[in-house]
Symmetry: none
Subunit: 127 residues, 4 copies
DNA sequence: GTGGTCTAGACCACA
DNA sequence: GTGGTCTAGACCACA
């Protein structure tokens, strides 16, 4: 069997509690941020992806709307969806992640952990 | 009007995306872990808390069920709900938090962050 | 026939080229900005409004999602949709309108109109 | 390579929400109203413009139909499209623009703005 | 009862 | 072919 060009593995996890459209959003965000999908590259069409994943086109629609809202793609009616500029997005994502780490840090302090405990924990992670 | 004993401010945030019962679970977990609610102390009754928070008793019921499932409280039929032993719980929570930090760490690596970036970020947090 | 309480006339115009959900969004934005719907007041439920307007609940859903995205309402799962704080919204709308007037102004200059022409035109409008 | 005569920069913005044919109509309307394209001058052929803009000839066709409908150009079968008389068009456009300003004005009044607010706003624009 | 998600499928404008 | 809107209706979690 041939590996079709542009087949970048979106795999759905039906055991995941999150809605399907959210999983799709998440997968594409990573593909875009990692540069696997590049600026102005065309996204798979709503219909073709729906067929490929064996789900309803409306669900893809919803995912793409969310991706557009978050600035990851832009839509050209009658033409398709395309990857947006993503330089700033990477920075935004890193900032967001730091915010989430700060929330975790505050939670940890509520549980009596010190900053040193956190750094030790981090050091213990695989490189 | 009297200030009732055991009034420890559970404040709901309706603008929070999380379900209400989850917020209640979270609040009580902290109250218990921080020792504000102590071993074998009685929890407010489902009904009284429902009135106090102006929400459906089913919601409190669901929160208490979840707290019991996670080992934070125990139920005595006909008597009420009581705070469980919480020595191990604190450790469990810390472990859980470390797991969540590990997930964050892996996400960050996907975005090109290094371990050093994380440690720098942590160092920047208020003591 | 009785005028039911809370019946605030959302009338759809099927001849309008804009999609129905957009019309609904627009109507509610005005009701909120004008203070007819007040902070924390409950919006009609997705289903009841769908029945009242004789359209599909999904369409209301979409309208409410958009209103939430724009900060006009907030959603509490299982409880309903509620009007958000709207102090800032009024200012934002006015700013947006000024921007649109600026675009119009630039268009007019392309057509050879002067600032005085514009002011004269404005003066001619009913008070 | 030669610089072809009649190359007057139609630039499409794919991120613009409006359909492409509408953008083309708009661009040509301005070129005609400003006199860059003059009475009886020949418009670029549907095919050549389609090639130049790398879009579907149907789209150009649709734009030209719309321009003809609005009286900006006329078609001679077998010969091509030509710029129409445009004296009246300029006035029509100005009238249309005043109408749009009136709509804006009414919207502003709904938001509590007065005529004086509008005039102040206008005065603030660059000359 | 309330909103959230999803399906199956229709019809439309635009390219 | 491509996305956008809408319907009719199902099933779910939450209150």
């Amino acid at each position: 069997m041939q590996q079709k060009e542009g087949e970048y593995m979106i795999i759905l996890d039906y055991k995941d509690a999150r809605p399907i459209y959210e999983q799709i959003v998440e997968k594409f965000k990573l593909l875009i941020l990692k540069g696997i999908l590049q600026k102005d590259e065309q996204m798979p069409s709503v219909r073709s992806l729906a067929v490929e994943l064996a789900i309803n086109p409306n669900t893809i629609q919803k995912a793409y709307m969310e991706l557009e809202r978050q600035g990851y793609i832009y839509t050209v009616k009658g033409r398709g969806n395309f990857v947006a500029e993503n330089e700033n997005l990477l920075d935004e994502r890193r900032e967001e992640l730091k915010m989430r780490m700060f929330i975790l840090y505050k939670e940890g302090k509520e549980l009596g952990m010190t900053k040193a405990d956190f750094i030790d924990c981090l050091r213990g992670f695989e490189e």
